[in-house]
Amino acid sequence: MKQVYAVPKALQPRATHYCPGCTHGIAHKLVAEAIDELGVRDRTVGVAPVGCAVFAYDYFDCDFQQASHGRAPAVATGIRRALPDAVVFAYQGDGDLASIGAAEIVHAAMRGERITVIFINNAIYGMTGGQMAPTTLVGQKTTTSPAGRKLEHAGSPIRIAEMLSTIPGAAYVARVALSSPAHVARAKRAIRKAFDTQLAGAGFSLVECLSTCPTNWGMAPIEAMTWLEENMIPYYPLGEFRTPEGGASNG
C-alpha cells in the first residue's frame, strides 16, 4: 500500500495546543519536512519565541532553546557561533519579530547570520488575546484597536520581507501564504530553500508566512483563510525578495 501521509520524523507524534484552523501547525510541519529531507535532525537546534509557538519544542523532535520575547535571533546567534556545524532556526510571531524584536532580526540579517527564521505573520498578537501587531492591517479591529487600526494614529503595517531584503547579509527572503494547498506547496519550497541557503553558508534566510489566527480574528477557520487571501495578500505580496543567486520573483 502506498503511504500518502506520515508525520515528519522531526515532529513528535502528538496533538498540538493550537486552535482549530490555526496555521502554526502547518508551518511546523513544513519546517520538519525540510529538516527530514536534509537529514539534519540530529544537528538541528531550534529556538522558540514568546507567543503562541512558545511550546514549539513540544512538537519538534530536535534540540531546542526557548528565547525571551523578540530575542530569538540573538539566542540563535549565540548557538550559531558556538556550534559551527549546527543547523539553527528560529520560529517567531509578528509581535515577537516585527515589534519587540525588530532590532535583533535586523542585525542578525545584517551580520548575514547563518540562521533560518520562520516568521509567522498573522496580523495580530495571538497569545495575549488579540491585540494590535505592527502587521495589523489598517482598519483591522483588534482588542487594542477596537475601531480598527487607524493610519494617522498607528501608521501603516510593516512589511518585514521587503525591509529585510534591502540588507546585503540577507541571502534568502521570501513571503508565502499558508491559506491553500497550492500556497502551502509553494511555502514548502521556500522553507526548504531557506534551509538550503543556511547549509550552503550563503547567509541569513527568512520566510515570512502569512498565517491565520481564527480565534482572535473572530472567524471560522475557512472564513479566516479567505480573509487572509482577500486582505493580507494584497498588502503583503508573495514571492522571493532575495535569493542567493540574486534576483527576486513574485509568485
Binding site: 530536535c62 550559531r80 557561533r81 558556538a82
Partner: protein, 356 residues
C-alpha cells in the same frame, strides 16, 4: 613559576577568562569597561574563539544565553545602564539554569548618571535584578590579582551550580594597573555538559533549554530547586576577608574599591590608637552574614562604607541582627571616599559608642 606582569584591571579580567577556557564573548560598548571587549576582539580569534559586538546589551545577553545553552564557556561585560538592559536576559539565564560570567564595572547612576566609579548597583546585583526569585553568585574583587583569580574561579562555580555569576567591579578596579600573576591555564578538556543543546546526535534524547513552567506546581518545584542551589552556595561559596577584627571596637565593612580605602583608614586609625578592624566580603552574594554575626559579638559597632547611598549596609544589619549598631558612610555619584573621612567617621562613632 608564572611571571608577574603589569596589567590593567579590565584587561586582566579578559585574559583570565580566556585562560579559564572562555572562548565566546558578546557585548556592547560602554565606559568604563571598553578595554574588556577591545581586548577580547584581539585575543579570542587567536585561540579559536569568537568575539561579537552585539547591537545592544539586550541582544548580547541573549547571545550569551544561546551560547551557554549550547554548552560553551561564555561571558559578557558591561556597566550599569547596560547591566540594567541585561536584566531580563539574566533572569532567563537563571531560570534556564545556564552558567555564564557577567562582568559589571559599575558607574554612578541613576539614569545615565556619570562614568566615574560607584557601588550603587549592589541591590541590583545581589538581590536579583531581573524578575522572579533568583540569585546570581556575585564576586567583589578588590585588586587586579583578585579579579584574575576570581574570574578563573567564576566559570567553575557557574558550571557547578548552573547559575549566572557576576563580577562586580567599578571604574577604579577596571582602570588600575597592578602586577599580576596568571595561573597557568589548567590544560584540561572542558567536557560538553550533558544538558547542552548541541544537536541530538547518535540517537540521544532531545534536550531543551527553557525557563517556562506553565503549571504552577512545576514552577513551584523549579523555584525550590533554584533556592536549594543558592542555599548550598551559601554554605560552600562564601568568601570573606577579616582583618584585625578580634580586638576591634569599630569594624569597617566594605567591598571592592571602598574596601581598599578602608584598609588604609584602618591602618591610620590604629596608628592613632583607635581599634578599628575590617570585614571585606569577597562574595557579596551569597553574603557573609555569619562573619558579621560572629564579629558582632565582640565589636562595639560596625561602619559600612560604600560608594552609594547605602545598600550593602542593609545586609550588614541583617548579619548583625541588632547585636551591634551598624553605621553608614557613603560617597555616591562617582566619588571614592578618603581614608581621612572614614577615620573621622570611625572616631565619631567610637566616641559615641564607647561613651555609652
Amino acid at each position: 613559576m608564572a611571571e608577574r606582569k603589569l596589567f590593567k584591571g579590565n584587561e586582566a579580567v579578559a585574559e583570565a577568562a580566556v585562560r579559564a577556557g572562555c572562548r565566546f564573548f558578546f557585548g556592547y560598548p560602554i565606559t568604563p569597561q571598553n578595554e574588556i571587549p577591545e581586548y577580547m576582539s584581539r585575543r579570542l580569534p587567536e585561540v579559536g574563539g569568537v568575539f561579537l559586538q552585539a547591537e545592544s546589551e539586550v541582544a548580547a545577553i541573549n547571545m550569551v544565553y544561546g551560547a551557554a545553552g549550547a554548552g560553551v564557556r561564555v561571558m559578557t561585560s558591561s556597566s550599569s545602564p547596560g547591566i540594567s538592559l541585561k536584566q531580563e536576559g539574566i533572569s532567563y539565564i537563571a531560570g534556564a539554569e545556564l552558567p555564564c560570567l557577567i562582568v559589571n564595572m559599575v558607574r554612578g547612576g541613576p539614569g545615565l548618571g556619570g562614568i566615574q566609579p560607584a557601588q550603587s548597583d549592589y541591590f541590583q546585583a545581589v538581590k536579583g535584578g531581573g524578575h522572579g526569585d533568583y540569585h546570581c553568585i556575585v564576586f567583589a574583587p578588590a585588586s587586579v590579582q583578585e579579579m584574575v583569580d576570581l574570574t578563573m574561579h567564576a566559570f567553575d562555580v557557574a558550571e557547578k551550580y548552573r547559575m549566572p555569576v557576576m563580577m562586580l567591579g567599578d571604574g577604579v578596579l577596571g582602570q588600575m594597573m597592578e602586577p599580576v600573576v596568571f595561573p597557568d591555564p589548567a590544560p584540561r578538556d572542558l567536557p560538553t555538559p550533558d544538558w547542552a543543546t548541541n544537536g541530538a546526535r547518535d540517537g540521544r534524547a532531545t534536550r531543551l533549554i527553557n525557563s517556562i513552567y506553565i503549571k504552577p506546581d512545576d514552577l513551584l518545584r523549579h523555584n525550590h530547586k533554584l533556592q536549594a542551589k543558592f542555599k548550598q552556595a551559601q554554605v560552600d561559596e562564601v568568601r570573606c576577608e577579616t582583618v584585625n577584627t578580634e580586638d576591634a571596637d569599630i569594624v569597617l565593612v566594605a567591598y571592592g574599591t571602598s574596601a581598599r580605602v578602608c584598609r588604609s583608614a584602618m591602618d591610620r586609625a590604629r596608628s592613632e590608637g583607635l581599634r578599628v578592624g575590617l570585614v571585606r566580603p569577597i562574595t557579596v552574594s551569597p553574603f557573609p552574614y555569619q562573619v558579621i554575626a560572629d564579629v558582632a559579638r565582640t565589636a562595639r559597632a560596625f561602619l559600612a562604607v560604600e560608594m552609594s547611598m547605602g545598600q550593602m549596609v542593609e545586609d550588614v544589619k541583617l548579619g548583625a541582627l541588632g547585636a551591634a549598631p551598624v553605621h553608614f558612610y557613603g560617597t555616591p555619584g562617582g566619588i571614592v571616599p578618603t581614608a581621612a573621612a572614614i577615620v573621622e567617621e570611625a572616631r565619631k562613632i567610637a566616641k559615641a559608642e564607647v561613651g555609652k
